[in-house]
């Protein structure tokens, strides 16, 4: 089993920007590592918080 990944790798996993190979290896690690699974869950909740509708915040950005 691979050793625990860095914060950056876990974030990129939650961000779905890892390569397919890295994703597969990390998913296998998470299946056996409760600490990393918990950290991954916390990250996904945080990302979900930012995804939630915040009209006044999103309105700060005007896309072309």
């Amino acid at each position: 089993m691979m050793s625990c990944p860095t914060d950056d790798v876990l974030r990129r996993f939650a961000d779905v920007t890892l390569s397919a190979e890295q994703t597969e290896r990390l998913a296998a690690h998470l299946a056996h590592c409760e600490r990393c699974r918990a950290e991954d869950a916390r990250l996904r909740i945080l990302i979900g918080d930012v995804k939630a509708p915040f009209p006044e915040q999103v309105g700060l950005i005007s896309l072309p």
């Binding site: 995804k51 915040q57 950005i61």
Partner: protein, 81 residues
């Protein structure tokens, strides 16, 4: 006269609203460049190359802003728990 007891659904909605209020507050306290990167990535759902085109900033810089923005956002939220 007794106050009406909120239903579980009302309590859930109040908790969600409170969480959203805290997240909005924490987002407003982030440096503008981090807030912009987080909102484009997650609220607007843009890919990093699309963000780079919108902002005229390199993808690696934007990835770094998102990464540090998430860390700072978490830290701010933990302080207000």
């Amino acid at each position: 006269m007794s106050a009406a007891i909120p239903s579980p659904t009302q309590i859930d909605r109040l908790l969600v609203e409170e969480r959203q209020r805290r997240v909005r507050d924490a987002l407003s306290r982030l440096p503008a460049s981090m807030r912009e990167a987080l909102l484009l990535r997650y609220a607007e759902g843009l890919a990093y190359d699309e963000m780079a085109a919108v902002l005229g900033t390199g993808e690696s810089t934007l990835r770094s802003r998102v990464h540090h923005g998430l860390r700072l956002l978490r830290s701010l939220l933990e302080k207000t728990q």
